[in-house]
């Protein structure tokens, strides 16, 4: 199964001229990733069709790789084995760009593979400004993983043919953990679930605290792999079928004389442990995105909190990986659903520093253009309160600018108003999915209720885009994330000057510039002293530094003098799209080197000649 996924391309059909090549030959040549070589190439004029070159390589659909070495269908979802295979194929195809490391193992022993993507041939990968991407911390939010995977694939496959991607991978390093909750993703694929489950992980937990563990999960009464709804015929019930979409249950409008026909019995399942409640103790119970240390609160305040921050192994693995990479300066986490670009804070009792909000606003506004009908929002005030969420840990404890995208919006259905409840889904299912999104109501025997019917939205429909929309979702969200990544700090030494002050004194000035929107240190980073300052050092044989200072203009108004070790100036920050002037007063003569060394904004160096005749 794994192999078929990756070896058959989803390329457009061959143009008619190529029909002479049997499908079998084509299949084989693609398998060995050597399509061009195995075809006898005839030289023809540029405009004429070439007998043996696929049309899509001649007439490219813009914005994607012409000839991916690892062909992938981006209109389908991938399980753990397929993800593993895809990452390994990419690492094998692009050894100079793509490496895989394990962040550790999940509860059930699955490897949590992080793809590190950069041009390893240029610079020290571990010192480039790093961008973190993860998806699928809520495993049922299944396309989150696909967006992260698509990004990994796109960066590798486009590197050879796109200047922006080339420069991005020259200057930046990406760390992509596509699947934060691999055990539950597998459970969502292969065990009965709904579109909403499992949000939790697979660690065994006694949810109802009765001494038995996971003893009463939802159960799949009709054995179709989907946990849907239950209804029972009831002439006095409050619900009836929707007149246009009979699978949809709607409340009977008694005011206009409608009569109900059914009573709804909730999610498919029964009371397996005899405690009078159904489905109260299944997978997990905790929420992995309420397990992070900033403003963590126990579950009576924040539902879903587990024992203490990082009490879940998957999160602890990821956090260890991130903490060992202080060069990470930006991050993105993917969730579904609702079409949102979210920033923290998650708690109304918390606030982000004003300077940091400006950066978020600038990036978020661009995101709203790139992702139609996605709204740039704050979690606490515009959505709901979240204590102990991942993005607050990133921003408030690591000082890293981080967005969460809530993928997919109902706007995608008919490109009109968002909302309309379930009706839109059923209309869309009827008109565009031809009924593929639903389980039709079907009678089953229920151990307690007798004859009931089960039916409703399949687990793979509701929060996820259908196949034909998935690639667009992946691409647009990736594009936003790459924009954010491109706006991570990137420092350079813009100019160095040397000026004699007389009496054997020379003034050496270096202009340090950050051309991007994000500062080298977020305001929170500076407040909590998370990342060491940027260092600008001056070194020259035969030259003595007498004094060092830095300021925001060449006049050195409001400058700061550094008394201790003035030859290594500590810059607390180089702001977004800002300059900092670093100045030394020195004596002596020589060739000097100025080295700029930042943790999150890269490094640079320049030389300067101090040629001042001593008096």
């Amino acid at each position: 199964m794994t192999h078929t996924t990756h070896m058959i391309c989803n390329f457009s059909p061959m143009r008619p001229q190529a029909k002479s090549v049997s499908m079998k030959t084509l299949f084989h040549s693609l398998i060995f990733s050597a399509a061009l070589i195995s075809f006898p190439v005839t030289k023809v004029s540029a405009v004429a069709p070439q007998a043996d070159v696929p049309a899509h390589q001649v007439y490219k659909a813009v914005g994607g790789p012409t000839q991916p070495k690892v062909p992938v269908y981006w209109n389908r979802y991938h399980d753990h084995a397929e993800i593993t295979q895809m990452l390994q194929d990419l690492a094998a195809a692009y050894p100079q760009l793509f490496k895989i490391e394990s962040a550790g193992k999940s509860t059930d022993g699955r490897e949590m593979r992080v793809a590190t993507i950069t041009n390893f041939e240029v610079g020290d990968a571990s010192r480039k400004p790093g961008f973190w991407i993860d998806g699928g911390i809520h495993a049922n939010e299944i396309q989150a993983t696909e967006v992260a995977l698509y990004t990994a694939w796109f960066l590798a496959e486009m590197h050879g043919e796109n200047k922006f991607v080339q420069e991005l991978l020259r200057d930046r390093v990406f760390y992509i953990l596509s699947d934060m909750s691999p055990d539950s993703r597998e459970a969502h694929f292969y065990e009965p679930n709904s579109t909403n489950t499992p949000r939790t992980g697979q660690r065994p937990v006694d949810d109802d605290r009765d001494g038995l563990i996971d003893e009463d999960p939802a159960n799949d009464l009709n054995g179709d792999g989907h946990i849907t709804q239950m209804r029972i015929r009831d002439p006095n019930g409050q619900f009836k079928s929707h007149p246009k979409y009979p699978n949809l249950m709607v409340r009977a409008n008694v005011e206009v004389g409608e009569k109900g026909e059914y009573t709804l019995l909730g999610m498919e399942g029964s009371d397996l442990d005899g405690d009078g409640r159904s489905n109260e103790d299944g997978d997990g119970s905790y929420d992995p995105n309420r397990d992070w240390p900033w403003k963590w609160e126990p579950r009576y305040v924040q539902n879903g909190a587990f024992r203490y921050p990082f009490s879940l192994i998957e999160n602890r693995n990821m956090a260890e990986f991130v903490k060992q990479r202080p060069n990470i300066a930006g991050a993105q986490t993917y969730h579904n659903t609702g079409g949102m670009l979210l920033r923290g804070p998650g708690s109304k009792q918390d606030a982000y520093e004003a300077g940091d909000l400006q950066v978020y606003d600038q990036i978020g506004k661009v995101g709203e253009r790139m992702l139609p009908k996605y709204r740039y929002m704050n979690v606490a005030n515009d959505l709901y309160e979240v204590w102990g969420g991942e993005i607050d840990w990133f921003h408030q404890m690591l000082g890293v600018f981080t967005f969460t995208n809530e993928l997919f919006t109902q706007y995608n259905y008919f490109h009109d108003a968002v909302g309309g409840g379930g009706e839109q889904s059923y209309e869309f299912d009827k008109l565009l999915l031809f009924g593929d999104g639903l389980v039709n109501w079907q009678e089953v025997d229920h151990p307690v209720y007798g004859k009931v019917e089960v039916g409703g939205l399949k687990k793979n429909w509701g929060r996820q885009p259908p196949g034909f929309m998935l690639q667009e979702e992946c691409h647009r969200n990736m594009a936003f994330t790459l924009y954010h990544a491109d706006q991570m700090p990137l420092v350079r030494i813009k100019e160095v000057t040397s000026k004699s002050l007389g009496n054997g004194l020379t003034e050496v000035t270096a202009i340090v510039e950050n051309t991007k929107l994000t500062p080298t240190h977020s305001a929170m980073d500076r407040k909590q002293k998370i990342t060491r300052p940027n260092l600008v050092s001056f070194k020259a044989d035969g030259v003595q530094v007498i004094m060092g200072q830095y300021g925001n203009d060449f006049l050195m108004r409001n400058a700061t003098i550094q008394d201790r070790n003035p030859d290594v100036i500590k810059l607390p920050v180089v702001g977004g799209q800002s300059l900092v002037y670093v100045r030394w007063i020195v004596t002596g003569t020589g060739q000097g080197e100025i080295v700029l060394d930042t943790i999150k904004g890269g490094q640079a160096s320049a030389t300067v000649s101090v040629a001042n005749p001593t008096p």
Binding site: G274, D275, P298, R299, Y308, K529, R564
Partner: protein
């Protein structure tokens, strides 16, 4: 007992007068002087504790296991004591020194363990162990504790995690230094016209903070005995002291605080202890030793704090039973003028009640007792020496004192408010009392102020002196033993008040052929509620499962085979449980039914159901 051992610098354990660069993780060797401070003479070291625990583990009543191994390769020992250590019974957990320097906590936990295991002569203890389990974690942070058994003496609470205590991106670059070479890290008082402190009029050894309202001027500023190795104008602010077990828990966690770690429950020690507790739902009560006392300083809740979304105080409903037990303890203990309890940001004991949701008793166990008031003319020898030594630099009323190295112990002792301080001005009272009490005991607990040349304060008048570490926090070893009994008494009081389940008013009727109606009251006849209200709020409790056993195939008319019962108040709190069902097979014979009520923190109860008409 002098031994010198080498440690790797990377463990952040070491003194280094020259300062240690943060990134110098070289395998540079440093010496640790394992001379035990005189103030801890008679206290068991880790090795001695190890031996004592292994001796205890030979008893059939005790089982010793390790919750994990620390960075210093020490075991996090757990002793399980019960007449049948294999059984899972309702349990109490005793935790020793949750603040590492509060070594008396470890010693008391060990001695309690010894008394429990060797309790042949005590029917009360025998009764306790026949029905309950006592878990004892005598030393939850052994690496940190062991640091206290070295010289120079300083109260240290952090483990071996490397920490940047002043958040300047260098690690351990400016530790306290024993400048006068006396084996104690005490204080520096630096003559300073505009300083923060002045001497106490009745004893110039004692420094008190100036009172701006009285327009007082200082004379001194105080620093810990140290250099300013990194020349940042802070003194001894970064010894890379590690992470403090008692600052690493989730309640009121001090983010980015000194000793609090990178995040909550980040350390081997805290994770092991927290996980052990979460994994043992049979633990109903916790007794721990810590300066954050709640036995003499019982918490006070209010309607307002009860209804706050995030609970920060004891819930009023829990206060009555807690106060009752605490009062009995206070009587048995006999202590007077207990110091106030410090605010325990990230502390174990507050977490144990507010987040873990168990009855939690936090005992400081000991503090400097109130001394007999000395006569005005009396002056200690030290005081005279100190006064003489610093007579020449007396600019205002007097000289120095000693602020306690760490503890803000504040017994409400009477101050002898002669020479200048108003009667209600309690500044320095704690220190004056301590000086008097130690003198009365013949204990040399104070280093008289002594002038030194300070290498980083050239030309300044600097003196070293103050209370010797540990004395204000831990009793002399000879005074530990009487403290054991009151704490054992607290365990006994918990057991005597333990919630107890009963099935009352059982009515079982046959309503028709094969149709039964069974009702009963589940009653708590014990002196404590079945769980603290806090547990009911935070959900960290296992409800009582009431089951009707012996059923064949039935159709439920009302109820279900098993029903969960929540919190029952003490002394008669009850709830009704009802089952109505139709027997679907073998309806000729009366079913042989039993009602069983089970909870991991309670003794289960089972009654037979006799069906009538």
């Amino acid at each position: 007992m002098r031994k010198t051992v080498g440690w790797f610098l990377g463990l952040g354990l070491l003194w280094c007068a020259g300062g240690v660069g943060g990134d110098s993780l070289s395998a540079k060797f440093q010496q640790v002087d394992e001379t035990i401070p005189a103030s801890l003479e008679g206290y068991a070291t880790y090795a001695e504790m190890d031996t004592r625990l292994k001796t205890l583990a030979e008893s059939p009543w005790a089982e010793l296991s390790s919750l994990g191994e620390t960075q210093g390769q020490r075991s996090l020992w757990l002793l399980k004591i019960s007449s049948d250590p294999q059984a899972t019974r309702p349990a109490i957990l005793v935790v020793g020194n949750v603040q590492a320097s509060h070594v008396v906590g470890r010693e008391l936990a060990l001695r309690m363990a010894e008394r429990l295991v060797n309790a042949g002569d005590s029917p009360a203890i025998e009764q306790l162990l026949a029905n309950y389990t006592v878990y004892i974690i005598p030393c939850p942070s052994p690496d940190a504790t062991e640091k206290n058994f070295t010289s120079p003496a300083r109260e240290r609470n952090g483990n071996l995690t490397r920490t940047d205590d002043d958040r300047d991106f260098e690690t351990g670059e400016d530790p306290p230094v024993d400048l006068n070479g006396d084996g104690w890290i005490t204080m520096l008082r630096i003559a300073d016209e505009f300083g923060t402190h002045r001497t106490h009029p009745s004893d110039p050894r004692v420094l008190i903070p100036i009172d701006g309202k009285k327009n007082e001027v200082g004379g001194f500023r105080l620093e810990v005995e140290s250099r300013d190795t990194d020349q940042d104008k802070s003194f001894g602010e970064d010894a890379s002291d590690g992470v403090d077990f008692n600052r690493n828990f989730t309640f009121n966690y001090p983010y980015f605080g000194k000793g609090s770690g990178p995040h909550q429950v980040s350390e081997i020690e805290t994770r092991a202890v927290a996980d052990f507790m979460f994994d043992h739902p049979n633990i109903a009560g916790v007794l721990c030793f810590t300066p954050e006392d709640n036995l003499f300083n019982t918490g006070k809740g209010s309607a307002q704090t009860d209804s706050a979304r995030i609970k920060t105080k004891i819930l009023t409903e829990d206060q009555v039973p807690m106060d009752r037990l605490a009062e009995a303890f206070r009587t048995a203990h006999g202590g007077k003028n207990a110091p106030e309890s410090p605010t325990g940001a990230g502390s174990f004991s507050e977490w144990s009640y507010l987040h873990y949701g168990r009855w939690t008793f936090a005992s400081r166990a000991w503090w400097v007792p109130t001394a007999e008031a000395p006569k005005a003319s009396e002056k200690s020898a030290e005081a005279e020496v100190a006064e003489a030594a610093s007579a020449e630099d007396k600019t205002d009323e007097g000289i120095a004192e000693a602020a306690p190295p760490q503890e803000p112990a504040k017994p409400a002792t009477e101050v002898k408010a002669d020479a200048g301080l108003a009667k209600d001005d309690k500044r320095g009272a704690t220190e004056l009392n301590a000086l008097a009490w130690f003198e009365s005991q013949g204990i040399d607990a104070f280093v008289p102020w002594q002038m030194i040349e300070h290498p980083d304060l050239p030309g300044k008048q600097v003196e070293v002196g103050g209370f010797k570490p540990f004395y204000l926090l831990n009793p002399p070893a000879a005074q530990i033993e009487p403290l054991v009994e009151p704490h054992l008494g607290l365990l006994n009081a918990m057991v005597e008040n333990w919630p107890k389940l009963a099935v009352r008013d059982l009515k079982a009727k046959r309503l028709g052929p094969g149709l039964y109606d069974i009702t009963c009251q589940i009653v708590n006849t014990g002196g404590l509620p079945t769980m603290p209200q806090m547990a009911a709020v935070n959900g960290q409790w296992h409800p009582i499962q009431v089951q009707l056993q012996g059923l064949g195939e039935v159709r439920w008319i009302q109820g279900s085979q098993r029903q969960a019962v929540g919190r029952l108040a003490e002394n008669g709190g009850k709830t009704e449980v009802r089952w109505v069902f139709q027997v679907l097979e073998g309806d000729s014979a009366e079913p042989a039914l039993k009602i069983q009520a089970v909870s991991p923190t309670l003794h289960s109860v089972e009654v037979e159901v006799v069906v009538g008409d």
